[in-house]
């Protein structure tokens, strides 16, 4: 078995590469990166003879297809703007793959992927990713799923990388159309900072106020898990949330042109460049990922709520920012290994909750010290007792 770790020397994906080296049994792991020097340094550091390095230009479609053909699985850790390019190249090359985020248009390759007999799983990070597995595990405990509420606390600085900065700016941009929740058979569009509620994440993150965030789980779970209502709410550390609120309220996310001392630009453009360049945007007191998924439904005719939450080693132990990155990269590596060893039977472009057996996935997470906890409670609406 051969796995290609695409962008595998990057800030996040290097931890997927490291996980592949530590846990997989495949014969070869190839780091495909634009930055060959970083890739070689990483390979030398890990020191696994199965590791190889190849230079990849993700803008060269034909080159990607040729490269992919020699692999069993492509693990895509490139910035999200390459999601479609990689999906397309996987389908053309007839090689299964997975990536960390989700682009709506990726589902268009479903039929072509089936035809080629491959599987491509978008969104196998922390959220989407672990949250899909948690929801799937919760849904499996029920006969019928009424509602899935996904909550996350992404504790990282605002701009650890250009891609992750764009993600935040996009998630809070008032023009983002994908900020939806699902209820009563349809998707409802909502604005930034709407749907506020307080969620108690495991310590050290603790109680945080979360709001609706545009996320693919909302799109896939009504169908994949038969949920009648789905929502994703999330937050970043308080200092990032404060900044986003101010940027939003003060018009700094606007794309209307402004002239600054004779230079024509837009606030959003400057904002983006500023946040990449300013040292303040790299500052963050606490790194980690809080995930809490609530699945409501029926079991044996009773109303039941399954609550699932994660725990992972603290930042002090996992090395500061790595405590955040590992939560994204480890699922990617687990997913790649499950695909390569034949655990995934579905073909086509498939959501994580459909592709992966949650119990196997959760067991794999636990081997890496990411624990999923679960509580099952029965509840009922007072005054509508079934004894009446």
């Amino acid at each position: 078995m051969r796995i290609l770790s695409l962008g595998g020397a990057g800030a996040v994906c290097q931890y997927a590469t490291r996980d592949l080296a530590e846990f997989s049994t495949c014969e070869q792991i190839v780091i495909g990166d634009y930055n060959v020097a970083a890739a070689e340094q990483l390979a030398a550091e890990i020191g696994d003879p199965r590791l190889e390095v190849v230079r990849v230009d993700a803008d060269d479609h034909a080159g990607l297809v040729r490269l992919f053909q020699g692999f069993d699985v492509v693990l895509n850790g490139l910035p999200w703007k390459y999601d479609l390019a990689v999906t397309r190249a996987c389908v053309e090359a007839g090689v299964s793959g997975l990536d960390v985020s989700t682009e709506e248009d990726q589902w268009d390759y479903d039929a072509a992927a089936r035809q080629k007999g491959i599987v491509f799983v978008p969104g196998v990070g922390a959220t989407p990713g672990i949250t899909n597995i948690m929801a799937s595990r919760g849904a499996n405990q029920l006969d019928e799923v009424d509602e899935i509420q996904i909550n996350f606390a992404a504790f990282r600085c605002i701009g650890p990388s250009p891609g992750l900065l764009i993600t935040v700016l996009w998630e809070f941009n008032p023009r983002t159309k994908e900020r939806l929740y699902y209820r009563d058979g349809r998707f409802h569009r909502v604005g930034p900072f709407e749907g506020l509620k307080t969620v108690h994440f495991p310590n050290p993150i603790g109680a945080q106020e979360v709001c609706y965030i545009p996320h693919p789980e909302t799109r896939t779970m009504p169908k994949s898990l038969g949920a009648k209502a789905v929502s994703v709410r999330g937050c970043f550390p308080p200092h990032v949330m404060r900044l986003m609120k101010v940027l939003l309220e003060s018009g700094f996310l606007s794309e209307t042109p402004v002239t600054v001392k004779g230079v024509q630009t837009t606030p959003l453009e400057v904002m983006h460049e500023l946040l990449i360049q300013l040292p303040e945007s790299k500052q963050n007191p606490l790194w980690g990922y809080g995930l809490l998924v609530e699945v409501y439904g029926k079991r044996d005719g009773r109303d039941v709520k399954v609550t699932l939450w994660n725990r992972h080693p603290p930042a002090e132990e996992w090395g500061g920012p790595a405590a955040y990155y590992k939560n994204i990269a480890i699922p990617l590596s687990i997913g790649a290994q499950m695909i390569s060893r034949g655990d995934v039977l579905q073909r086509g472009v498939v959501a994580p909750e459909t592709a992966f057996d949650p119990d196997v996935f959760i067991a794999e997470l636990a081997r890496r010290r990411i624990e999923i906890h679960e509580k099952i409670e029965e509840y009922h609406v007072v005054g509508h007792s079934r004894f009446m």
């Binding site: 605002i158 200092h239 900044l243 101010v246 600054v260 946040l275």
Partner: protein
Amino acid sequence: MRIVVLGGSGMMGCISTQDLAQDRRVTEVVIGARNMPKAKEVAEAIGSPKITIRQVDVTDHDALVGVLKGADACLNATVYYTNLQVMEACLEAGVHYTDMGGLFHTTRKQLELSDRFAEAGLSAVLGMGSAPGVPNVQARYAADRLDTIEYIRIYDGIKPPPPGDVRFTYAVPTIVDELTLPPMVYRDGEFLACEPLSEFENYWFAPPIGLLPMHLSLHSEVATLPLTFQNKGVRECFFKINYWGMAKETVEKIRVLVDFGFAGREAVEVKGQRVIPRDLLVAMMANYVPPITDFLAPPKNRPPDWVKEIVTEVQGTRDGEKVTYRMGTLTCKGALPTGVAPARAAIWLAEKRIPAGVHPPEAVIDPVPFFKELEQRDIYTRVSVTEFL
């Protein structure tokens, strides 16, 4: 009498222009402005035949000298960064000078020009707005009546706008500086740099303004008062304000941006062009500046429905007895004293009532006639004296 008001069509400058045009001693008010359409809008709104407009960029020394020549006084109502340049132009043009403040550090530099002004037989009064300006003269009133001074505490109390009302009612770059630069205080013979937005205390102002949370801010009064009255043994001097007259929420928002580095002066490259973060912040904040006609409109309230009280408390001794003076200058239009006070100083300069050299207001502005002149424009000053048993 011909007075040039640089920035005479700006937020504060337009009020000075209006005030000067209404004064019978003044025969011509020249608005020196970069933005001609705006200058015309202001001139039309005031509608006085005394007003003329000259386009000028204050960074163009020769052009500025040309505009200043023949004037009896120059009132610099542009942002304080230009103070030194404008003073140089005044020296060359042979024109007296006043401004609305130099945010402590610039005022200090301006005072160094005193010998050159004196040699040229020219006079300058620095920081003659509502604050600095009014508190300096208030302090002088008390100082004239005290043998020793223990402290000079200045409280600029402004009725805050409602929380959702985001507006910046004076120079935006100055607001950003006040928010980010360490406030200077004078304690036990030393000038100390403190944290912005620190040393909060509640202070009671004339109703209906009432109790307001006051914090330190960088201001010019502190740069000069302890030195002017050094011989009276001043031990403490500070300036406090309530969120610079803005809603607390507005200040908190700007603070978040500042904490993330948006007030930085290092350029960043945006699509091949260089943009300074601070410039963007200032440009974005400019969207929240009210229309200029708001500044020229008559007060919405009538006395005693005050919107601002500028207070200076001076404690000291007279004939060995402890005495406290509380001077409160009240207005029903917050920006009015900022425009009117320097206009009065400009007239006094033109009337040659100020000695040659560069001076802080407390050194050269005679308090009683000054406050009487402010009273003619519905800006009232009250004095209360507390004696101890």
